[in-house]
Each structure stands twice: as C-alpha cells, then as structure tokens.
C-alpha cells in the first residue's frame, strides 16, 4: 500500500479561481480529514468525513467544501480563491472516526499557490 495519496502535488491558481484537491485513503480506511498548513504554522483542521458524512468542521468559510465518495476517497473544493489560501493542504486517513484508538495517517500534501 502506498499510503495516503494526494493529487496534484503542486498547483498554481489565480485569485477568484476554483480548485479541487483529491485524496485517496489507505485501503480499508473509512475516514478522511483535511488540514491547511500555512508556512511556519501547524496544520489547521478543515473537515473530517467518515462513511461519506461530514463529522467535523473547522473554522473555515463556506468557500471551502468537501465530499467523500463511496470508495472513501475525498475531494476538497475551494471557491473564489484568495491569496491567503496559499498553503500546503494535507489529507489524513484513519480506519474509524478520528478519535482515540484511530491513528491518522497523513499524505504528502498538495502545495497550492494563489497568485
């Protein structure tokens, strides 16, 4: 198993555009979480999905949305991009919900640059 995979690796967009980031969890994992990591800071929680339902949401505007598919892969969508959305976007998967006893495994991230 290659672990959690994310695509694309890098992405450059301009302000006002829309972006879709993709994540494939480890085989057998049913939960996916998304994080935003701005340079010099720790990851900031955006969403958690388990069994295709949103189970947690961080303090992000409605421009951020996500979904989980029947195969447990996930997409993160960001509309009306702002310069401040430039960051590394991390995906993490776990077997169950992201609770105690369910270790999160992180992907390599997608580096988004907004010009």
């Amino acid at each position: 198993d290659a672990g959690v995979t994310q695509s694309p690796t890098h992405l450059i967009k301009t302000r006002g555009q829309h972006v879709t980031l993709r994540c494939s969890p480890i085989s057998g994992h049913k939960s996916v979480s998304w994080y935003q990591q701005v340079l010099g800071q720790g990851p900031q929680f955006i969403f958690q999905y388990y069994e295709k339902e949103e189970r947690g949401r961080g303090n992000f505007p409605d421009r951020f949305s996500a979904r989980q598919f029947p195969n447990y892969s996930s997409e993160l969508n960001v509309n009306a991009l702002l310069l401040g959305d430039s960051a590394l976007y991390l995906c993490a998967s776990s077997f169950g919900g992201a609770g105690s006893g369910n270790e999160q495994f992180f992907g390599p991230g997608t580096r988004l640059t907004v010009l």
Partner: protein
C-alpha cells in the same frame, strides 16, 4: 477557546543531552493529546498519544491537567531525533488543534 501552544520554535541540544519540548493547551473538556513528528522530507506521523501512556523511540509525555501541559521528554537525545514536532489536541466533534511546532536540532 481551544488552543495548543508550543512556545519554542527552535530547540537545539547536543547529542546525549536531555530534551523537553513544551506543549500547553486550553480546553474546557476532557482532552486527548498527541505528539506528531515530521522528519526531513517525510510525512507527518503520530509519535505518541497520552491515552497509551507509552514510550516511543525513548520519548515520553505526561498529561498534567493541573498545569494544562503535555510536554515531550527524552533523557538522551540522538541525532536522528532532529525533526519538527507538533503537539495536537483532539476536541469534541472530531476537531484536531495543532500547535505551531518546535524544530528540534540535535547537534553531534
């Protein structure tokens, strides 16, 4: 409000010296705390969690609810411990809060 504070951005120690990476949290509920590590060019990975009360790679961390701290300790640092360390809090509704991280540099 929930918050995780790691006061040191950079911590440099010599090989064999003790190391302590500080983490303080703010949370009104019953906290679940974790330490994550990111080695150079590798992915973020779980190092240890307080509920397991385990020692991983010689590291331990004790949850002190009175001081709202979860400091990471190792008695004898090794060069391979050089990495970025993040303290994280799991709050209700499956939200995770990460600190800003401490870069540990172990010098030979």
């Amino acid at each position: 409000a929930q918050r995780v504070t790691q006061p040191e951005k950079l911590l440099s120690v010599f090989k064999g010296a003790p190391v302590e990476l500080k983490c303080n949290y703010s949370y009104s509920g019953s906290p679940e705390l974790f330490w994550y590590v990111q080695y150079s060019r590798q992915r973020l990975q779980l190092l240890l969690r307080h509920i397991s009360r385990e020692s991983i790679k010689g590291f331990t961390a004790d949850l002190n609810k009175g001081e709202t701290s979860f400091h990471l300790k190792k008695p004898f640092a090794q060069e391979e411990d050089s990495a970025m360390y993040y303290c994280a809090l799991k709050a209700n509704f499956n939200k995770f809060y990460f600190g800003s991280g401490t870069k540990l540099n172990v010098k030979p």
